[in-house]
């Protein structure tokens, strides 16, 4: 059975815990990185990992590793401070990759 994990600050993941997702609180970027590595090591268990945008920059190298594999799906979600627009830029990166230039 596959699971879904959420990595983010304590306040962010708290709500998701109530929904029955695996909440992984991380106080800073290093903790997030360690948690992310731990979760992806057994990637058979986690199909989706939601990562708070605030930590996305520190994790970007790790996240890129999973871009081409079908699992897990790594999705950026906005944190408490609102959207940083990183999710949108991921979309733009995909378009640029496919088309060869940014047409959006």
């Amino acid at each position: 059975m596959l699971k879904i994990a959420v990595i983010g600050s304590r306040e962010t993941v708290m709500g998701f815990k109530a929904l029955g997702l695996d909440a992984v609180p991380a106080a800073n970027a290093e903790e997030a990185l360690a948690a992310f590595k731990r979760l992806t090591r057994d990637s058979d268990n986690y199909a989706i990992i939601y990562v708070e945008e605030t930590y996305a920059k520190a994790l970007s190298a790790e996240i890129d590793k999973f871009k081409d594999s079908p699992t897990p799906a790594i999705i950026l979600i906005p944190g408490r401070e609102g959207s940083l627009g990183l999710g949108q830029s991921a979309l733009q990166a995909a378009v640029e990759r496919a088309v060869g230039s940014d047409i959006l």
Partner: protein
């Protein structure tokens, strides 16, 4: 002159001709594949953009409600209230083949089917804002799941398009011109050989005639 050394024989010429035919066919097929992938890709992109805005809006709303709840309740109480979730989500994943790209399809089951049954605490000691926050969050979660599916699909398709595009370009600008050049080179060489052997034969004939009958032009 072709870039690589090829022997100008009829056999190699035939080989090159079949290769050219194959390359042209492959090029056409791959181009069609790329075009169709592109069309579907943009549909996915459009959907992704829509979902992302919806999720981001929903999450902001849920988080602000949660902030209010945490302001009203003490941190310990809040922690305690959601410490043991009643709900658990189980995810089933299958794969769908879209233009030879395997994209994931998620299907999730919650332990309790009733959406009103997500609150892991009694209502007596918690604030109403927490209920609102969790309610919003659980609604957003369905969109989030779809977003995950769409976004992964988009990434995988982007990769496939890139690959196909490279193949199309390699065929169009490298393989096919090379083959054409080779064919031209070989056929010219063969014609040249033909001519030279004809000239040689004529020369030999002249020499034989001269020897036998002292014939001279």
């Amino acid at each position: 002159m072709p870039k690589t050394a090829i022997t100008p024989t009829r056999m190699v010429l035939n080989q090159q001709k079949t290769r050219l035919k194959m390359a042209t066919r492959g090029h056409k097929l791959l181009k069609d594949k790329r075009d169709e992938l592109m069309r579907q890709f943009f549909e996915v992109v459009r959907k992704n953009r829509e979902l992302r805005t919806r999720v981001e809006e929903g999450l902001t709303e849920a988080f602000s409600a949660l902030s209010v709840a945490s302001a009203i309740m003490s941190p310990e109480m809040l922690e305690q209230a959601i410490l043991y979730p009643r709900q658990s989500v189980e995810l089933q994943m299958s794969f769908k083949n879209v233009m030879s790209v395997n994209v994931p399809v998620y299907d999730f089951k919650t332990k309790t089917a009733d959406t009103g049954d997500i609150y892991p605490y009694g209502f007596a000691q918690t604030s109403g804002e927490l209920d609102d926050a969790l309610g919003t969050l659980s609604r957003v979660f369905e969109d989030m799941l779809e977003l995950a599916q769409v976004e992964k699909t988009m990434q995988l398709m982007a990769q496939e398009i890139e690959k196909t595009r490279r193949r199309v370009n390699a065929l169009e600008y490298v393989m096919i011109p090379e083959c054409q050049e080779n064919i031209k080179y070989i056929s010219m060489k063969l014609e040249e050989n033909d001519r030279s052997s004809k000239v040689r034969l004529m020369k030999v004939k002249d020499m034989v005639l001269e020897k036998a009958h002292n014939f001279k032009y």
